[in-house]
Symmetry: C2
Subunit: 336 residues, 2 copies
Amino acid sequence: MLKFDEELYLKNGHITYETREEIEKIANEISEEGFSNIFFISVGGSISIMWPIQEMLKQMTNIPVFSEQAGEVVLTGHKQLTKDSIVIMASKSGDTKETVAAAEWCKINGFRVVSLVGTPEAPLEKASRWVIPNKAKNGVEFEYMQLFMFVFKLLYNAGEFDDYPAFANQIKYLPDNLLRAKQKFEPVADEIAQSYHDEQYNIWIGNGEMWGEVYLFSMCILEEMQWVRTKAVSSSEFFHGTLELIDENVPVFLVKGEGKRRVLDDRVERFCKQYTKKLVVLDTKDYELTGIDEKFRWILAPTISSALLVDRLARYYEKYTGHDLDMRRYYRQFDY
Amino acid sequence: MLKFDEELYLKNGHITYETREEIEKIANEISEEGFSNIFFISVGGSISIMWPIQEMLKQMTNIPVFSEQAGEVVLTGHKQLTKDSIVIMASKSGDTKETVAAAEWCKINGFRVVSLVGTPEAPLEKASRWVIPNKAKNGVEFEYMQLFMFVFKLLYNAGEFDDYPAFANQIKYLPDNLLRAKQKFEPVADEIAQSYHDEQYNIWIGNGEMWGEVYLFSMCILEEMQWVRTKAVSSSEFFHGTLELIDENVPVFLVKGEGKRRVLDDRVERFCKQYTKKLVVLDTKDYELTGIDEKFRWILAPTISSALLVDRLARYYEKYTGHDLDMRRYYRQFDY
């Protein structure tokens, strides 16, 4: 596989899964203290992987769930955000300015923060009441794993997700499955990148629990790391504006999930098949999850797309564009 | 003014304001029945003008507020959406498929729906428990006026917006003010459209209570009605991906509001001033609201931008592109 260490990947999966006990301990502590609602607060890629979970929770729990951009909520507050709330944050570097500032703001206000932090002793740790160490060097899918274990354990404790033990036992097999998905996707990624790396503009579409995936890949990877222009739009909203842009030469990338909103993706697919010659469909259904129950697939779908897109497709874009994924002209290059 | 009937506009403002009593009666009835939370449910342009209000409500009320895309919520449900909820919907045509289906779904489930309907006896009316007639032929700003009166009267009844009587009295003067804003903006709109109508790609940025405005104009006007490619991103999220696309020839449109998140717009402005020669700033502060208290301006800011963008700037785009605003190749042209 292109610029990819399979052994290290599985090791990262392993050390991520090893945090299960620690995560469940934190969840139990919070359940014991009690809480009235859940706030996801972060920025960019980190908030976008919380949105899928927020979408799932709408269907799974009576606990009200909100999400806020870190840089915004500190300016306005939010009447639902109180000392009874649980705030979930994440930052790979642990020093994302807005997220650290929001965590400190929460601390001052007495809001309880639990954070996924990818860098030990980073500033975000200090401002958080609880820390889930995000030990894997790479892989958004591993952050999903931790968020799933944490949030679904809270639900389990509230009597709302009886399947949690089975779910948590089975996601042990996720890294192996995702590695096989990556291997299977490798030639597809190569072909997509070869065909589309030079496109001036791309429409990315997805929905519900896949929306964060579409948002993240188009903005935080293609725009930030490849300087490729994108428009991301949800499968439902596509039909209320963006559809008029479609002609046979406009590339459309559709990321299909496996939840109840999949029919909206099907509709986009049917439409785009007719009106563009450049439709690429990424369907998580094409990838097996051995050892994992069918009923958990819709939840795990974003981990599959993440495994395929965020490093695999990105890596192949890099191969053809020659634009190093680490090159930035502005972001974190200087103060602004 | 270009293709604009000033007298008719003021008349539309007048007949909109005349619905105040009817709106307040509905609000009072709902307050009397009681409700546990508010759901905004609609699609496209209609949901996007509800988002600013949702953003304001975060700062104004202890009532939990949610928003859902009509086509999605009927597939998944939402655990917070119950018989105790109040659902707010809107459709100018009154026959938007997803919205009508969602209203009917609400009715079957016993969820109470109040709708803004622009066409008498449209299907949306039949599925709604209460109807606010949206009598003005045109003008998103008039829909805002009705939503403001309705939602803020609910807050007032809950003891949360004591300023309501003053607010509602003063927005009587809004149409005159918005007409003057349009007049002042006329040469600016002409200049912007002349300079930018041919651009292949535009970044639109705004934040908080202005986000819906940015979303609506970029997708429902520029994309749908002018087939112009856009990327809309919030002022806070811009710095987590999209900023890397900026170079001196990339057009950026920044819509500045007057709320607490304005500092985020200022940051975008400072950044973009340095790195593109094509920055257009639309600042609601440039337009007077005579007879209206300063403290209400941040609430009314989206009505100003709407008054400037949705028909004025759109009209001037049409002038220079020669692309009729009513021309669609797909939307509502056939089944898909």
